[in-house]
């Protein structure tokens, strides 16, 4: 699971898929996850880092992370 090479992420959360011309926005935690994917963090590491940084329980973190990753896959921003 990694971020595709042609994805540009701006600091303000603007995401651009140069291969398809699609653009998106995300919130700060979304940027945090995308940066983690860029650093090749797996799901377990992503969840662990979120729990360190944010005030949230593990179950919610895992549930939301999996949903977000599904959406990234749906929009062709990551690959397995």
């Amino acid at each position: 699971m990694k971020l595709k090479n042609n994805i540009a992420i701006a600091e303000n959360g603007f995401i651009f898929n140069a291969a398809r011309g699609d653009s998106f926005t995300t919130n700060p935690i979304g940027i945090f996850i995308l940066q983690g994917l860029k650093n090749n963090w797996d799901k377990a590491r992503l969840c662990q880092e979120i729990l360190v940084k944010y005030e949230i329980d593990e179950a919610t973190c895992e549930k939301d992370l999996y949903d977000f990753l599904k959406m990234l896959k749906h929009y062709d921003l990551i690959e397995e």
Binding site: F24, N27, I29, K53, I56, T60
Partner: protein, 452 residues
Amino acid sequence: MAKQRYERPVLKPLNGNITNKFGAQAGFIPHTHIDGLAVHALTAKYGSPLFVLSERTIRETYRQAYTAFSTRYPKVQFAWSYKTNYMNAVCNVFHQEGAWAEVVSSFEYEKALHNGVSGDKIIFNGPDKTEKDHRLAIQNNSLIHIDHLDELYSLVALADELKVRPRVAIRVNMDTGVQPMWDRFGFNYETGQAWDAINKILLADKLDLVGLHCHIGTFMLASQAYRIATQKMADLALQIRKQHQHQLQYIDMGGGFASKNTLKGAYLNGADLAPSFADYAEQICTALFNAGFELGELPLLILETGRALVDDAGYLLGSVLANKRLSDGRRATILDFGVNLLFTSFWYEHTISPAQACSQYAEDIVLYGPLCMNIDVIRESVKLPPLNRGDQVVVHRVGAYNMTQWMQFIALRPRIVMIDLAGESHLIRDAEDLDYLMQLERVPEHLKKFDL
């Protein structure tokens, strides 16, 4: 290092559609307090979901409405529409402000008496009045608004029997240029039904015809309709004066003023669309002044405004039960209140605010209630910041009809509190429990036992 507040990650595709004429979303302002009391403190004390009423807003709204009419016309009387919200505390705020009671059923009538409204200041509307209701209303010298000929005949018979002259008005329906025309209540103006009913009353000489009443519609966004209605009502009153030498005491223009809620399918926001009290007052009062009454014979103007007086004062507080993603990709949030409590969500797109700090990132979500029924949708599509489980929301402008039309369906009804002028909260209706639910039920003896 302190941990940051968590917010669910969101991913929002950007589409190059036609530019939104309203511009970009200005941002979300959390609604953390109501009249100085923290939303979280209120739900901690009284539970969630919770209806909250602002006494200050009720009084201020009433005074705005009264001022709009009383500065334009010398004889104005409001009558509080019980069906809009018949919590005793709410009714009594309006009665303290000077409003009479307007009721449409026997239990509402008895509620008004129970609240201490004197019988002669109760207006009894509605198509369902039994002989017992009529006897009680006559005994209390109340104003009985006749809805149909059957009621008229039974009142004449009752007056004959009791040897009294009940104070009555007839309810008039008419074409005011607004569709659909409300013609199911009362007697029609254009077809001459109203004039026939008036003649019957005056020629029978058993009832004291003291007024005329109309209720031209609900959520009337065209204030001009009231000018047309007022002209027709005044025309009837003047005809009665001329042909029967009988002077009416009042013209009751009913209710129907719109609140600032946004109707489903409306192009503009309700707050931008709804006429002000001054708009309605200008149409009605100007038409009355120009109708041709002698200055000393101007009738009392009665108004039965409900929705526009109380909608703004009501809030519904609730909590997020869960989040999920639907099969078509939309996000859905499930709240602990649904259409069982927020009946008006069937026709309004209610404004809903987060009750805690939130970011400005938003996504389109569907808001569902907790009922195990597919119809339980609070908003089909609304832009809100990501809400976590346990986060709270505030639904605005729920003061009208929700606390009377709410359903005891699947979930029991919650508490209602009122915040007084000093910022103190008062429980005005307790939460229902199983004992309350079952107190009227009876189980036949042979059904009391079973083996599984």
